[in-house]
Symmetry: C2
Subunit: 105 residues, 2 copies
């Protein structure tokens, strides 16, 4: 029997909030901090904490700048982040396939 697909999941990517961040960053290519916060219903502190984990793992780039006079923070997936998200999705599909091939009662 092959390794169970859950063994291949990486907590850095799989964790609920971080998976949300990566998914939205993937959709938007470049996403603003405040938008992520609203979409994911997070406090700024909580979002910052998860962004640090992702940035530390090299999965996102965080860029600070201004929009007019307002300070803004933008988040972009790195190529490693795109790969990590694709790996996660691949593992989840394997896991879903295993659940769905189990006969129901």
């Amino acid at each position: 029997m092959n390794d169970h697909p859950s063994l291949g999941l990486d907590d850095v990517v799989h964790q609920r909030v971080r998976l949300g961040i990566l998914t939205i960053a993937h959709e938007a290519r470049r996403v603003e901090f405040g938008y992520l916060r609203t979409q994911l219903d997070l406090t700024a502190g909580n979002l910052s904490k998860h962004l640090s984990v992702l940035e530390g793992a090299g999965l996102i780039e965080v860029e600070k700048g201004y929009e007019g006079r307002r300070p803004r923070t933008w988040i972009t997936l790195t190529p490693a982040g795109t790969t990590a998200l694709a790996d996660e999705i691949g593992r989840l599909k394997q896991l879903i396939a295993r659940v769905e091939t189990t006969p129901e009662d």
Copy 2:
């Protein structure tokens, strides 16, 4: 725009190890502690900790008994556990669909 699918994920179920436990319990209906430990490559302590979380949430039943003279612990999904796993799978599919409908570069 609807709520992001990651908002509907429940950490009790989504957490990597617990998702593995629920998936295997779903496949096997009734699964032995040692089998789970091997399949998921966990220490007994770590597995016990996650089983407690799932049992506390009413998602599994833990039954202790003997196989011959050997003490054994069996794990069974409850109906609530089956529903929770199905909910998780449904959310993951929504999330995968969003990732996969994003045009690639």
